[in-house]
Amino acid sequence: MAKPTPDATRPDPDALLAGLAQGGRGHLKIFLGAAPGVGKTWEMLTAAHAKRQRGLDVVAGIIETHGRAGTQDAVGELETLPRIPVPYRGQTLEEFDLDAALKRRPALLLVDELAHTNAPGQRHAKRWQDVQELLEAGIDVWTTINVQHLESLNDQVARITGVRVAETVPDTVLDMADEIELIDLPPAELRARLKEGHIYRADVATRALDGFFREGNLGALREIALRRTAQRIDKDVTRYMRSSAIPGPWPVAEKILALIGPDDAAANVVRHAARLAEALRAPLTSFHIERTDDNAKVQAALDLTIQLSGTVITQSAPDMVRAVLDYAAAHNITHIVVGRAPTGGKFGRWFGRRFSEALTRQALAYTLHFVPLPAAAPARSRAVAPPRDWAPYLLASTLLGLITVTGTFLRGVLPQEAMALIFTGLIAAMASRAGRSPGLFTAITGFLLWNFFFLPPYYTLSVADPRDLVALLVFLMVGLLTGTLAGRVRQEAATAAARVEALRRISLFGQRLSRAATLSDVLAAAAEETCNISGAGILLLLHNSTLTPEAARPESTMLDDAAMAAAEWCLAHDTETGTGTGTLPSVPWRFFPLRSQGIVTGVLGAATTTAMPAPVLQTLITLADQTALALERARLTMQTARAVAHEDSQKLRNALLSSLSHDLRTPLTGIRGAAETLAASGDALDAATRADLLASITQDTTRMGKFLANITDMARVESGAIEVKRERLSLASVAEAAIARVPGALYTGLNLAPDATHVRADPALLEQILVNLLDNAVKYSPPGSRIAISSRRAGGDAAISIADEGVGIPGADLTAVFDSFFRARSVDRVTPGTGLGLAIAKAFTEAMDGRITALSPRLDLPADGLPGTIITVELPAA
């Protein structure tokens, strides 16, 4: 909140920004009424007609006439969007067609009944969400609402009128409005209209006059509506004052803390706190201490907090009062809102009262607000009580029986006090193991048994002595205290254990994800672990160009169109959607956005048909965050890998360029040098030198020609412009042709196996392969060494091998030799060659569906000589 500092006369940037943020949005005008029938819709339609006559493109999106003739007439000639029929439980509901409205894009759209709840299966659960989307699309909207539908006023109205409306709208929606018009009608006039049948049919109207439409009710509602509008105007004025830099006084920073427990007051507490927050312009925080008996009410209250733009804090602590006060002190809380002591059960009440009393005693620094319970609460609370577990009672009864029977036999030996101690022990044991109720059951039954069997006079129930009363009291105290204490310890232990377990699983999850190296590994691991932890079917979707499912557990999990729409909504709006949320709640999935660095990159979906309990939700949210992080990491790793690969290919390109340049420059240098030597000093040279220079020119020219042919071959292979024939070829004749083209080596002849004499291949390509291989063998062998050509059968293939006694290939290079421009040793210090020969041999072989491999050193050569190389080409035998 802006403090009046010396330069406070500058406009507050936040206020200006808030004004700007509304720029691209449509404008919202709300016609607010105190009760049904005040004429909101009629007023809206009349105003709309006026706009339309001034040439504005006005369309009625949906108008609820409630069969009122006046309203029907008021629609008049306004263009009205057709409704879409939605089948629901055997009947057909007619709903507002949001997509049609978005498509039509009028300048102004009328959407009646803002609080309406859409039929299941629609995109949004509530109509106000439809309106929100329309506004975001830049369409101006006029709408109507009655004040009792406002979330924070819901209780207040219910208490006044005795009627609770189920359809509520968050107060923020009202804040969204750029303009609010209060449709006011004095209660007397409204009742008159009702009597005349303008609002309901006569029979309904009579009942309504005595019920909701009592004069007192209407008066109160009217006051609430007026006050709410005034509040809103106050806010507008404040905003105006702030953005125009009109100096304070500004409210001091108030902070509201709503305490949420598993009781009926929870939602009321939140609503009251929200109202307070609104009035004080203070932030709202709902504070909840985790317990094993947390229920749907807690979750609902926490959800409500979020809806009312508050924050939720959940802690685990044994001392609730301490935890609350610590939090309040640490966060400068000024107001604490708490429910009145619960009335759920005797002990609950006692406990709750103790809590509020302790709070009252200790929270001296805070303004405390006690919120009353809703009237119909206790009945509901009993209905949700969990079913009793009978096993401890059975066990207690058995043990009591055993002790009693044994005790009867020992009656002469053991004094009655000893028996009392034994019973006390059992009570303590039962209470600590099974809890308070079984403990009390054991205490009472034990007392009765002890009294009946072991306290003289035997076999009667009598409390003759004050001593016996003390015994009964001790029994009960032991049962109660032990049970309560043990119960609390167990509860905390269970909460702690559950937390530890959740943390352990999450940490395991993190570990597993951190081991996943690639994007697909991360996706698979995340889906599997999330499925294991939550027990729900899990689907991970990533946003590339569209949102696509990437991993699922179980594998077959699929999304139907509605679920897909919910997932896409989740992605587009960075909000949870599906079951238990306000968007597409009828979809049997809950979707969580996967955010990394503030951007939603995907969606985590968990299959569920019911609202998930808070701990599961919390875990899933954590898992979604972790998954998003892991995905981000995998993406970065991939990018790095790509960058490295790019760098590698840069290096390769440099090597290639330098190789090309070397292979062209060297013969060119020779040719030019020889030619210029001849030109400059030809006369001074002897005939032999002149002849040698001329020969050298010819040789270098041949070398360049060969190099260019190789490059052309490679280019042909790489561009795919090579046509491969499949002919039955005699290896002997092809090899002889190749040998003839590569002189300068000592061939040890052709050694062809009888079942590998022919192959199916392209004659020109095969010959070139052999020429290149022989060329290579000659190049890397000392003069006069032997080169052997052989063949053998290998399955359906004939394997042709060319073995030399040359320098060999280091193991690490055995596959790399077939890469373009690879050369044994580095770039330009080699025996003349192009570095393309083996690459071409490989490309040609593969073009004929064959395989080429290199082996070095040869195992069949003497160990003291050069290692030698065998290159083998496998082609289909014929």
């Binding site: 330098s658 060297t666 060119l668 030019r672 040789q699 270098d700 080699v830």
Partner: protein
């Protein structure tokens, strides 16, 4: 002074095939080496007057040969290489090469470079009291044309003197920067460009042409 033994170090037989008769015809006695070790051995034992060195040798990189040669000898070295990257040239020159000729080269140009290198070697030790560059007389103190002092700053004069003393030879940016500004400024090539520009303006159009830019490598004051 045309005489002298020239060691040609190259593993390409084709190069020797034409250089041997060409050098012989020009009056030099060529020596031949195909490997780095061999080249160093001949350089040490036979003390040639000049070395033509290829950078790509089978046993040892040409830069390494140069480095080891400079440990015991100052004989002029001209690099012959098919590697055309500036970085290679700069490294070779910084390592003590006197000049650089790219393959394929014009025989006439190679011969000219050999003559320059040999002449400088011959005129080596006693630094001349005054040098003459395109009608400009340069002494260690000042530079003048027809007895009229040129308005050079101290730095510009030092730069001109450095180029003149290494006439015909490529000086890398690094060598010039180190000589004039010290080893801390070896990267300030932009600086050097400014000074060269100013120097060229002061020298006048004709003389300025003598300062040749070797793109990406450095500058050379030509002979003619």
């Amino acid at each position: 002074m045309i005489s002298g033994r020239i060691l040609v170090v190259d593993d390409e037989p084709q190069i020797h095939r034409f250089l041997t008769p060409a050098l012989t015809a020009a009056g030099y006695s060529p020596l031949r080496a195909e490997r780095g070790e061999e080249a160093l051995r001949i350089a040490a034992s036979q003390a040639p007057d000049l070395i033509l060195l290829d950078l790509g040798l089978p046993d040892m990189d040409g830069h390494e040969v140069l480095r080891r040669l400079r440990e015991f000898s100052t004989i002029p070295v001209i690099i012959l290489s098919a590697r055309d990257r500036e970085a290679e040239k700069i490294a070779a020159l910084d390592n003590g090469a006197d000049d650089y000729v790219e393959k394929p080269f014009a025989l006439g140009e190679l011969m000219a470079r050999i003559r320059t290198a040999l002449r400088r070697q011959g005129a080596n030790d006693p630094p001349a009291a005054s040098l003459e560059v395109g009608g400009v007389n340069i002494t260690p103190q000042n530079a003048s044309r027809n007895g009229e002092a040129l308005p050079l700053t101290k730095r510009e004069h030092a730069l001109l003197l450095l180029l003149a003393r290494n006439r015909g030879r490529v000086l890398t940016h690094r060598q010039i920067l180190t000589a004039l500004w010290g080893p801390a400024h070896t990267e300030d090539v932009a600086y050097l460009r400014v000074y060269i520009g100013q120097l060229r303006r002061h020298l006048g159009e004709e003389t300025a042409k003598l300062i040749v830019t070797e793109p990406g490598v450095g500058y050379r004051l030509t002979d003619d």
